[in-house]
Amino acid sequence: MLEFLANLIPTFIWDIWNSLPPLVQYLTIVTWKILFVMIGVILIVAFSTYFERKVIGSMQARVGPNRVGPLGLGQPFADVIKLLIKEVVIPSQSSKFLFVIAPLLTLIPALAAWAVIPLNDWYVIADINAGLLYVLALTSIGVYGVILAGWATNSKYAFLGAMRSAAQIVAYEIAMGFALVGILMAAGSLNLGDIVRAQAGGFSHWFLLPLFPLFLVYWISGVAETNRAPFDVAEGESEIVAGFHVEYSGVAFALFFLAEYANMVLISSLTAIFFLGGWASPFEGLSFLSPLANIPIIGLLVVGGLHWLFIKMAFFMYTFFWLRATFPRYRYDQIMRLGWKVFIPVTILWIAVEGVMAWFEVGPWAGLTG
């Protein structure tokens, strides 16, 4: 397939390519890789806003957006254009530099984390050894944008939202980190590609089964980290209007919106990679299905690849919207109690259980010696 594509390109282009210095070749390839991932992520973000409104609409027995384009599919673009041509109002008593930079500080970590995420067996921008730590570090610095936005606005509502968000994210990050320690113990590697490869061999080899409590803790903490319902007290439109982004308008608000959805896509993909085998197909290792692999469309379901990561990611995005349509907002003291008094003990207990499982060589540790 790749050779066929390579033959399509005329030879003189290959000659020019081969005459370039290796550093330039390397930088060109990496730039294109980044560009493809970024365009993909931004398109997914744009259409997940549409997806969300359709899902919540159908759960509330409404139609959802259906005016712009066929089936309302042009709605995300209409929203973006509307926000782009609006005026950005900067409050007069605000700290102007921090006010402007805060939306960028939430968006950049959400996009930068994609550098280490493996989309399939070979497509990863930076295949680094400490990939899992990198992801954890980047998701933890996303809170700066929220805190600074709340402080720089110089508004009481925004400030309350920022304080709620800071306390909440610090609480849930610890549980998230401990859940990832469990992944480390099972996979024996910090590299995200190796974590997925450790789950190869079909549904029964995924970390979902042996690490089920950690999966629940990680997923719920992920919902809390992204400030989504039912943990969206940082926005809390009924009591503090819109929380940290109450004074943001136009493009600045669009950036916050983009960052929130980019974070959701990121958490969904990470959950799929850590617990559901990432790009791997759930039907791997079933020998009676292997003849199907050569059939054009059905075959894709049997072999692993980008489409499986996308399906799993889409499932978790749907769950985000499902939760939002289903649950009322948590009370603040209940959020804190859940984070500190329930999740952290559960993760520590399950890490101990994993130690016992590794000692008796069951589950993902079967066949390991020493």
């Binding site: 920022a162 304080m163 610090v170």
Partner: protein, 201 residues
């Protein structure tokens, strides 16, 4: 190699600039953000030395957790720029003295370690497939396991002590009983009354 040196001096220059910003910025929140930038730049320097575990953990722990709590506290200060400026001149001499002592100690340490031989101009290159995480882990849990575990216990003790200090009995404190709240059933709150419909007069 030239590119390497260029990166090193860029990161080092931004690091020193950010460190100066921490001292000279009037607003404590701006000072914290400069400190965050300084942590990032030192993480970059560690990445250049192929110490990726230390670099990412520096960002994770200091930027992701410690500085967030700092920001949380400092944000709530009532900022009085006049008072801060007065403090600056008062403590400047003390600050300079501490800085000089630290610089002297650093120079002495480097002198002692290197002896008379000249220091290397670049970071040592590690062989292909070197993993900083594995290298650290393999000594931390074997050779230095006692020191490591004792440090962990001391930190735990500090956490327990700090929490104990805040646990004082206050009269008239209202506490929610979570298990009682969770155990509530619909029939505890609403009563369904059966009655005949009223007749219109």
């Amino acid at each position: 190699m030239l590119f390497h040196a260029f990166l090193f001096y860029t990161f080092a220059a931004v690091l020193i600039g950010a460190a100066c910003g921490v001292i000279f910025s009037r607003n404590p929140v701006h000072a914290i953000m400069f400190l965050v930038l300084a942590f990032f730049q030192s993480a970059m320097l560690w990445l250049l030395a192929e110490a990726e575990f230390l670099a990412i953990v520096l960002v994770l722990v200091y930027v992701g957790a410690v500085m967030v709590l700092f920001l949380f506290v400092v944000m709530m200060l009532d900022i009085n720029v006049e008072a801060i400026r007065r403090g600056m001149t008062r403590y400047a001499s003390l600050g300079i003295a501490v800085a000089l002592i630290m610089a002297f100690q650093l120079v002495q340490l480097i002198w002692l370690r290197s002896g008379t031989e000249t220091l290397p101009g670049a970071f040592e290159a590690y062989p292909e497939g070197y993993s900083n995480t594995k290298a650290l882990g393999s000594v931390l849990y074997t050779e230095h396991v006692y020191a490591f575990e004792i440090a962990a216990v001391v930190l735990l003790l500090a956490i327990v002590a700090a929490i104990t200090l805040t646990m004082r009995k206050r009269p008239g404190l209202k506490v929610q009983n979570i298990s009682a709240q969770v155990a509530v059933k619909a029939k505890d709150r609403i009563r369904v009354v059966k009655m005949n419909s009223e007749k219109k007069r």
